[in-house]
Amino acid sequence: MTALLDVRGVTLQYKTRDHLVTATYRVDFEVLQSDRFVLLGPSGCGKSTLLKAVGGYMTPVEGTITLKGREVTKPGPDRMMVFQEFDQLLPWKTVKQNVMFALTSGARMSTRAAEEKALHYIDKVNLTKFADSYPHMLSGGMKARVAIARGMAMEPDILLMDEPFAALDALTRRKMQDELLQLWDDTKFTVLFVTHSIPEAVKIGSRILLLSPHPGQVKAELNSNGQDKIDSATGMALTEKIQRMLFADEVEQVHD
């Protein structure tokens, strides 16, 4: 089985007038068909940047990104993206129109079919009552949910999600996670998922990539079955193992 997405030695940099920031350094990983691939790493380590590069918004200064054997050069609806920012909804469209517009222009669906689908997913994120509201009338978490609905409704080859559940409360978050897994059970799509929460990574991910602090480099890649499995070698639960790995250098410092 060859990789669906192949990220090979990717270095990403931001060039500004007076700074040059290296966001990630020679990162490689492979995402297979139907993977639920999680990127985990400390704030500022380059997760969003990596996702943007896969989305086609940034060109690596080194290395290549290939999707289905073709090099990624520009954005497209085959890689649907859920951004981290709250302003990712089109302010001039209502909740329903936002989801529908993605479907009609991204997935080239007919208006009728798009409307039906849009309403279905809006219901899944519990926003049916707000289907006709404009984004500026929603709370932070509600905006995030619309973006999630939009991403899921597109049913793309690969779904790129950047901390989609960060703004959600415990209950809503659990519901959304379940919805995502449910959808995956149904359609077996591929998802590349950024999160800050280790339990979430363990619950959602089938494979977890750990990144080092800024600039991000690959630290480890682990498997997960969603059950916080116990590692046979060390006897630690996966969550704990990850925690150890991420916090390793810091533990003493925190305890100072």
């Binding site: 943007k52 989305g55 086609g56 918004y57 520009k74 954005p75 497209g76 609806p77 890689r79 649907m80 993206m81 951004f83 920012e85 302003d87 990712q88 089109l90 302010p91 001039w92 517009f101 993605a102 222009s105 991204g106 404009y134 984004p135 500026h136 009338m137």
Partner: protein, 285 residues
Amino acid sequence: MTERPEFVRELATDNAFGVVQKPLTTFERIWNQGYVRKAAILVVLALVWELYARWVNNELVFPTFLATVDAFWDGIRTGGILQRAGHSIRILLQGYAIGLLIAAIFTGLAISTRFGQDLLETLTSMFNPLPAIALLPLALIWFGLGTGSLIFVLVHSVLWAVALNTHSGFKSVSNTLRMVGKNYGLSGLGYVTKILIPAAFPSILTGLKIGWAFAWRTLIAAELVFGVSSGSGGLGWFIFEKKNQLEIPSVFAGLFCVIIIGLLVENLIFRTIEARTVRRWGMQT
């Protein structure tokens, strides 16, 4: 410090959430209507005009408001001021529309290629400061005398202002929205019309307003210089003619007509557009 007690409450039922309003006084309620406030401003302005003109007391230079309204009324009944205005508006709309079209093409180019952006920036900084008179020779070569040349000059006065505003609006569109648009696979015209234009709408609207105003200015001034043949002639010509005959109240009546059209367009058209778009979308307060 005694520990505060914990507690758990029953919730009110859904139908309890009525609208609770603090009552307003009648004056507040009336004053809250935008058109009332604006009407008040207009009345004050008219009053100031009337009083100042009476104080200046020079009908040949600055007639009173009432004399102007009189002349305006007269102009409507006998002088065909409305036909003149109609004539001007017709030409104006043509020039405006063509100007917008060309501005759209330029900014479209400018946003999609770096070369287009350089081109727009260079052309704008070169041609925008040129007065209409500078275009006269080219206008005469290309369009001869008459409406063609007038429209050409109008386009010049609309084009750059609208293009500048639109382009700057486009450049200010948030990166996230751009990325969302690209994500849908939009590019070229679709990207511009479906993402950039609505996202930059506040700027574009300002450009439209400025373009509209400068089109009027230019038209009125240009009708005096350019190929007016005596059969036709719009409001600008009306003003010029009356000025030469020293019928100053009529001159002001002509300008008054421009003012009224300006107020109508702003309050009926631009306000409505604003309310239905940027205000509704929460893009402007």
